[in-house]
Symmetry: C2
Subunit: 335 residues, 2 copies
């Protein structure tokens, strides 16, 4: 049985091991700073399919096959699939996992989905629901721009606060025990709404939720910033990062020495014209899997607080003048 910690955290009793991870990305990601760390780069934005949406599902199925192979299991060994994405009605995941024929929990946390998935996956292991839980999250730049903002064909200019949705899929296989990085506990996010309405400034919309999770994690576990080798948010980019630093400082902690954001790590700001950084469900998923998981595995780092961040709007809510609430899911990964 998990142990409740403070207001919104738990520490797991079981050792929730992250047995394997994998990252499949698109061309632009494959030209960035992490290009040598990804498992697979698909240079064709349609991945051989006839639409961007079908391409996203192809990324899902290909990368899930890859992570199962890396974990040494096959589809029949998977007890549950927990997955989500940004497409309306989770269609990237739905059509992507259809062929696997295993029990499926669809989840939606916008770009925090990988954090939500690792959390729910951990709870499944803790509850004794099975041996192998397959978790995944995806996004696709072209499909996301078309759905949330403007069709690419319009050639709309992107403001400097905007981020670039990562094309890719990150997956993990969770199991119980073994010599792998493990999930010690989670701090599940509340919906936090500071009243931001600009769909081109997601970093500002999500930063308060991320800061809230960081502060609650510290307080719930009675720890400080120096507990972690690194605190890693999902896709706040440069604008959101500054806000998190300020909000966490206002809460009494200085994380300026050991904090970064996946949206900053995945692209080269100067050379790749991605403005405020990377975003999308895949941003945190592929960056954690390719950059940070290996550091935990090889002992270079011992403790990471990983916090995928999401903006909970849709195109209708924006048109109706609603604000953009944020959510973030904290995952304590240690080794």
């Amino acid at each position: 049985m998990a142990e409740k910690k403070g207001n919104q955290s738990v520490e797991f009793k079981e050792k929730i091991a992250i047995k394997a991870v994998s990252s499949t990305v698109g061309k632009k990601e494959g030209e960035g700073p992490l290009k040598d760390k990804f498992d697979k780069i698909i240079n064709d934005a349609t991945a051989g399919e006839d639409s961007w949406e079908k391409a996203e599902s192809k990324f899902v199925s290909e990368n899930m096959k890859l992570v199962m192979k890396k974990a040494g299991i096959n589809e029949n060994d998977v007890d549950y699939i927990v997955a989500g994405d940004l497409l309306n009605q989770n269609n990237g995941s739905t059509f992507g996992v259809r062929e696997f024929n295993r029990p499926f929990f669809g989840i939606y946390g916008a770009c925090s989905t990988y954090g939500e998935g690792l959390g729910i996956g951990s709870i499944l292991i803790e509850a004794g629901m099975g041996e192998n839980i397959l978790v995944g999250a995806s996004s696709h730049f072209c499909a996301a721009e078309k759905q949330f903002r403007f069709p690419l064909e319009l050639g709309s200019q992107r403001p400097l606060t905007s981020t670039w949705t990562v094309t890719g899929h990150g997956a993990a296989v969770l199991t119980k025990g073994g010599n792998y990085p493990y999930i010690k506990g989670i701090t599940t996010g509340k919906i936090v709404d500071f009243g931001i309405k600009d769909a081109n400034n997601m970093g500002a919309a999500m930063a308060p939720a991320a800061a809230d999770v960081i502060l609650n994690n510290f307080n719930d576990f009675g720890i400080g910033a120096n507990y972690y080798d690194m605190i890693v948010t999902g896709d706040l980019g440069y604008v959101g990062k500054e806000l998190v630093l300020k909000l966490v400082k206002d809460g009494g902690f200085d994380i300026s020495e050991n904090y970064t954001d996946c949206g900053i790590e995945i692209f080269d700001r100067d050379k790749q014209d991605t403005h405020s950084g990377g975003s999308g469900c895949a941003c945190s998923a592929v960056t954690f899997n390719s950059l940070f998981y290996p550091k935990l595995k090889n002992g270079e780092m011992k403790r990471i607080l990983f916090i995928p961040t999401g903006a909970l709007m849709n195109s209708t809510s924006t048109q109706q003048g609603e604000t953009i609430p944020g959510v973030a899911h904290g995952v304590m990964v240690e080794n």
Copy 2:
């Protein structure tokens, strides 16, 4: 620790009690056969808001407050909220639960969402994640028609295979132990795709997934149709019900004596012009809560297999010629 059963089921060790349920519905539902059983009827389709989408969120927040009141708890007693709906990016739930300020897991299972939520909520209790889990699912006829088919203003004629999306919200508070109907186990659905492409024939698209869950539940637990007082699917309507009877019979079991569908129970076919029956996330949620939960509570029934059913398409997938995969989540509720 939950006990794995067969291919895709578990039996919980803890007594996962459904402490309270509540149903808030719209005008049409409030004129149907269950009108005296609902907790609250909101006759204004916009619920005092300025859009159907905002109205759906109002249904969510009002009904969640109601179920907390019926369970004798307040927001601060809730450990996790698990909720979802049909709107793009789960916005009905997101904006509906925003004010509660509690840890939130957004889920998406189309119209099977209430079943998925009761399943994940049970797992949270089993894992020791807290004392009170708030589960909810909603849908809104006007918002769903606009999003998935045609704006109501067009006055498009609906074919006889079509179902009527229920306007409403169903919620439950799960806790551990106590003298309440409880969730003995779950049979989590796989994605099942028989190649149906007609978005006006959801019953046929979802029936194979429902039949698959029923057969796996029987086989995983080594039971037959007569184990249950009633087997209740979510929103297959008249067309889907006939298919389920046939598919389950092909699998070796006759459920013709104790099977019904919430989409058939919620509307009066002759008087309400709803064609093949009710549908939407709220259909199974409000029908189970108002019609079947009371029968379990007062001892009229002892065992129900409740199987909300979902169709995993979106408007883009339909336009791109994709099929409509189905999913269903089986929940064994006993007393």
